[in-house]
Subunit: 336 residues, 2 copies
Amino acid sequence: MNAEEKFELITRNLAEVIGQQELKNLLKEKKEISLYWGTMPTGSPHVAYYVPLLKVADFLKAGLKVKILIADLHAALDGVSWEILEKRQRYYEELIPLMLKSISVDLKKLEFVKGSSMQLDKEYFEDLLKLSTIASIRDTTKAASEVIKSIENPKLGGLIYPIMQALDEEYLKVDIQFGGLDQRKIFVFAREFLPKVGYKQRIELMNPMLPGLMGEKMSSSIKSSKIDMIDNEETVKKKINNAECREGDKNNGLLPFIKYVIFTMKKDKKEKFAIKRPEKFGGNVSYSSYEELEKDFITKKLHPLDLKNSFSEELNKLMSSVRTDKLMELYKEAYK
Amino acid sequence: MNAEEKFELITRNLAEVIGQQELKNLLKEKKEISLYWGTMPTGSPHVAYYVPLLKVADFLKAGLKVKILIADLHAALDGVSWEILEKRQRYYEELIPLMLKSISVDLKKLEFVKGSSMQLDKEYFEDLLKLSTIASIRDTTKAASEVIKSIENPKLGGLIYPIMQALDEEYLKVDIQFGGLDQRKIFVFAREFLPKVGYKQRIELMNPMLPGLMGEKMSSSIKSSKIDMIDNEETVKKKINNAECREGDKNNGLLPFIKYVIFTMKKDKKEKFAIKRPEKFGGNVSYSSYEELEKDFITKKLHPLDLKNSFSEELNKLMSSVRTDKLMELYKEAYK
């Protein structure tokens, strides 16, 4: 893969790249480029977690060194009680590799880092204090506004959060940070403030935000809008069947997921997305691109029920290897 | 000294005590009681530093174990640049023992602790994060309001400040914190929030705030209002002579200082405060209590000029042992 091809793979499906030229230069000049993606062990992850994990797969294929930060202290700052924190973190640490394996990612190239294992270091804390004398309450409030849960009487921790996320770029010694578009203000904050304590600006890659399967933004805190990774086959089927999806209307939560997750995987495996249906409803059909499928859906050649059935099957195929006994055990400890 | 006598000595001249009954109980029940006073290495200390140091002397005489915290990280949070911080801290560490010696305090009973030597510990930072998930932005803003310099676009560090000061009580393993009345909101914050992370409430002792010699609040940041500890004899004389002090009017900056510093020392040494003046102006006179002196001043039996002359002499006597070559050297490094 040459630098241009790598650039295409790294940035495919992204909503935004800050530092596009820097990334191009880096790909030409630097041998080992590293990236991190941080995830807070808060609610129980749902299937939308495949969206960032597919990007992780892309980064690895492009030869990047990838670190996944299990941001336990950030989860605490976001309101996860300190008592439950470690159980949540253990659940995430078990789940994420299983999900990555289910999409055939080679874990040997990946590194998992637990936030508190590096964020409680002397130097880290001193840098946090340094940044807190440079960044104003206004700066940090703005940076945290889309990431921290909004509550009536916000806690101070919410303002420490963006400073720590900025420092993570330095302390993980990475060139790039990856996250959802909801991280944008924190990424911009990191770009502005790291140089003020003598650290370099990082490239920031952002995934689009997908709607939930039921129509809302997919959120682990709204139970009805998500398919939990521990949901069994029947539940997955039922939830997908209940998802809002009107014939001919592409505004629903299923299609974006099918586009970003199912078709990305199919394309990489050079497979097609197969719809199985009785002859009387048009018989089996298969799509090699999302655009074809969307076209058929809009023109009502593809019925929501048939789409849902095939999608359920694809999703359950992925999820079956994830739902191990050990995972279910850790789930019970973390969320019951 | 029995418990009652100790209580009297510990609380004499104070403006407020939070936990008066707790202190009484402690004095009856606990053998080794410890207290800390924190001072930020910010501006160059002025003679008003004798006010808390005389209380430190009282605490020691009452048998308390006293720790003086040189709060370098707090100074940084208050705006002292990280580059100059260590030089300021070295100056304070040299100056304070010299001042204590000048008022005959036995340094062997004292412990000096540098803030960053314990505040950068893992457990401390973790507790700071814990408290930041419990204390709101509103709580910390209120707590810091009188201590942190007010600036147009306040920095986040100002809100971390009260959390650290609360934790210092726990990490210094003391029973009591001592400070000026301007610390009241932070002390109340500490009393409220330490128990929320499982630590005990501490007794809080507060000194009154003295006006500056020129009439304003004595502040190390207003040059004209203070007599710096490194000022030479001539400068001390000149500053005192320039101080606002109208005949018969007790509202000036000199009398409170004379009351809290000069008379406290004189009383303990069983000495009198002597006024030397020519026969034609009434001849020499000496006072064994501040009240007598104030009465004479109000009734114009004691002229401001005579008061100033004697006060200058007393102050220069104290300060002469403090202005060592080494101190002057450190001063130049810290403030030039």
